[in-house]
Symmetry: C2
Amino acid sequence: MAETDLEDMESRTLEPNDRVQGEGEQFDEENRLKPEFVRQIRDALYDDIDDSVYDLVEPLHPADIADLLELLDRDERRDLASAITDLMSGEVIAELNDYVREDMIEALPPEAVADIVGQLETDDAVQLIEDLDIPDQLAILAEIEPGGRAAIENALAYPEESAGRLMQRELVAVPDSMSVGDLIDYLRNNDDLITDFWEIFVIDHRFHPVGTCQLSWILRTPRDIALTDVMKRDQTLIPVDMDQEEVALRFQKYALISAAVVDESGRLVGQLTVDDIVHIISEEAGEDALLMSGAGDGDINEPLRDAYSSRVRWLVANLGTAVVASAIIAFFGAAIEQLVALAVLMPIVASIGGNAGTQTMAVTVRAIAMNQLTRSNTKRILMRELKVALMNGATIAVLIGIATSLIFNPQLGGVIAAAMIINIIVSGMAGVMVPVAFERLDQDPAVASSVFVTMITDSMGFFAFLGLAVAVGLAG
Amino acid sequence: MAETDLEDMESRTLEPNDRVQGEGEQFDEENRLKPEFVRQIRDALYDDIDDSVYDLVEPLHPADIADLLELLDRDERRDLASAITDLMSGEVIAELNDYVREDMIEALPPEAVADIVGQLETDDAVQLIEDLDIPDQLAILAEIEPGGRAAIENALAYPEESAGRLMQRELVAVPDSMSVGDLIDYLRNNDDLITDFWEIFVIDHRFHPVGTCQLSWILRTPRDIALTDVMKRDQTLIPVDMDQEEVALRFQKYALISAAVVDESGRLVGQLTVDDIVHIISEEAGEDALLMSGAGDGDINEPLRDAYSSRVRWLVANLGTAVVASAIIAFFGAAIEQLVALAVLMPIVASIGGNAGTQTMAVTVRAIAMNQLTRSNTKRILMRELKVALMNGATIAVLIGIATSLIFNPQLGGVIAAAMIINIIVSGMAGVMVPVAFERLDQDPAVASSVFVTMITDSMGFFAFLGLAVAVGLAG
């Protein structure tokens, strides 16, 4: 084993060209695998030339191999995986989209999965196993050596999407009595330590973290200085049950590279590193657009039945709100019969109001997600949105009022202008207040806000326009 | 200076309690500053008790001081800043929201700004200056010492949102002839090196990066080993003109902690570190929801006139698409006059179609942003969305068809059911094809897609429903 490592190192040293990740003939200018390259792989798979497939894939970074697998169809994926078995490293598996990974894992026997799990760090192993059915999980766990199994079972005991699931158990923690020199000797002389780490955790006799030390500080400090004089005492400690969204915000806010995870009694039980958290930051920031439109997970690899069930539920809810709007129209049926121009113009009022509401809602949901909107500034933001709504409402009212006056008559123009101002103001207020209300009720504001905002803007649009028309005696 | 540092260190060592960031009485359970705490600050500012303000703010992390400033109103912000001048560190300024920072900076004289800029790393200094007007920029630059000024001017010469603007010039680069021991001695003996770094860049005689070395590898390797035998040769090199969106994707994909930035000739000119990139990852992932709704930057701190101008432009565009839909309704005016139920039901078809289109569009835009949707799998995704649309369409058609049959009559029920299926399928196809088309035309799919998708779903909803009603002889 040690010899192979050395040989490997030599060959790397002798390699004539540096390899730059994500560049080369396989990639387009945006770092995506070129369609021509993917076609080459497809053709080689089809012609069953495994050697040629292997040679094409071998130069890729594991993250790019994962991308390639995702781009292929389901059957092609499995063919590719068996053509490049020894390139299917733990890293590739860890980089795969959840749904694609699950689908591929389900096709493998438990022993093969256990083999893969054995190569992974705890956090990646947990990620691989957690979405499988319980019987599959048990079958795989039974094949894993006891030490690894215990660590995985331990992680699975924490709630989904919590720090306990995400953390690595592998870390470097040293007692607070050490000097810089002691630490360097300890790192050099212990072969069983992990090789990739960014910070050292300093702990007291109770195993509580008392400080963290960047490696650069250690490298720049004389050997005889005590670690407690180098370390930073201000720490961000992550409780083991903290939700991943919260973890992501802490990493972002305090610009963390790694953070200690502690259990209820304050003992150090694991670490989180930023390279694992960037995926979560991106996921959490991106999911609001999907949640607001009712697209569920919104993953293009999600199984069809899951995509259907999350989306149709949303459409049915919207059917409900559309029926409310229809009822309002039906109430003014007589007026419409008398003046069909009302039917022609009413969707404009509702549609622009809906857009204005969606704009405000998107801004509010984002501000809530980023912890920028709290009780301390809600009133100010509401006033701000009211001003924007007034300005928008006035502009749109002038435009539609003039056009309607010219095409139909000035009275109808006045009615639609007034209805537009009312609806845009109502939309702006709803766009702030609905998400804020959900947040105060401890509900995710991205999930349900748009159903309510749409219902308010549609109903109010029809009601204000038709109601005003009747009130001024245009019809009805 | 050195003495003060030492004293400072001692006092830190003697501090009885460790300070855990983001916890304590000032914070709620989601790491936001409590409204009561903000109110205390407000009261103290109002009563002009600067000492008490200072004592309240002093324990906070710079990122939390920045949060506090953002939560306050404009006047309160300036009062707070002058009550806590020596806590207003470069770190606080760097953590501030762009708009809030700009607003506060504009209130200061150039010399005061130059003082702040002097404390910052190049990337933070550039961030502070880049949004100011050119005359303000020049006035501030004139106050900065020549070395710092040159670095900032150099950075400002790169395009906005490029790697050249974001990068730090401060880094540790060493020649490829060094051994691990040489490197450690070099780090210990050079007092002018930066103190916070995560990787070492190894360069050749032309100043081209040939490899990177994690500090943990150096700490675990004997002194006599050559750096070239420890470093990783597979590198992710960032061209100085790369857009920040692309940079963020590379950091995410290849799980980078830091990356070398190179100029056109391949020379190392700076580095990017992940703590600066996490903000961009979050911003880029979150902005699609805002862009799709036409909310512009969507920042609650954006000046009113900017928020108005970006949002109203969008509403006017939507007014245009709503007029198209109205024209279709007008075309069927006679039918509506005859059968007012058509006017009552038509918004349902348009609204559900709009929702289905938005769902598909949100999924597609996200997949494009994450480089998951390329030419290699567009057809598969289109087929997938077609299937989801068929299932959704059938479900909604049954529900609305039955309800309409019961309330109105079976013929109208059949018409609305058929119109619903048509519109949901059209929406699904538009939701994929519109963003894909924009992306192929090198336009941001998040920006303009929803105007087009809404126009298609609204028009098609009205046209299919009213057209079918006329075709089967229900009215017209």
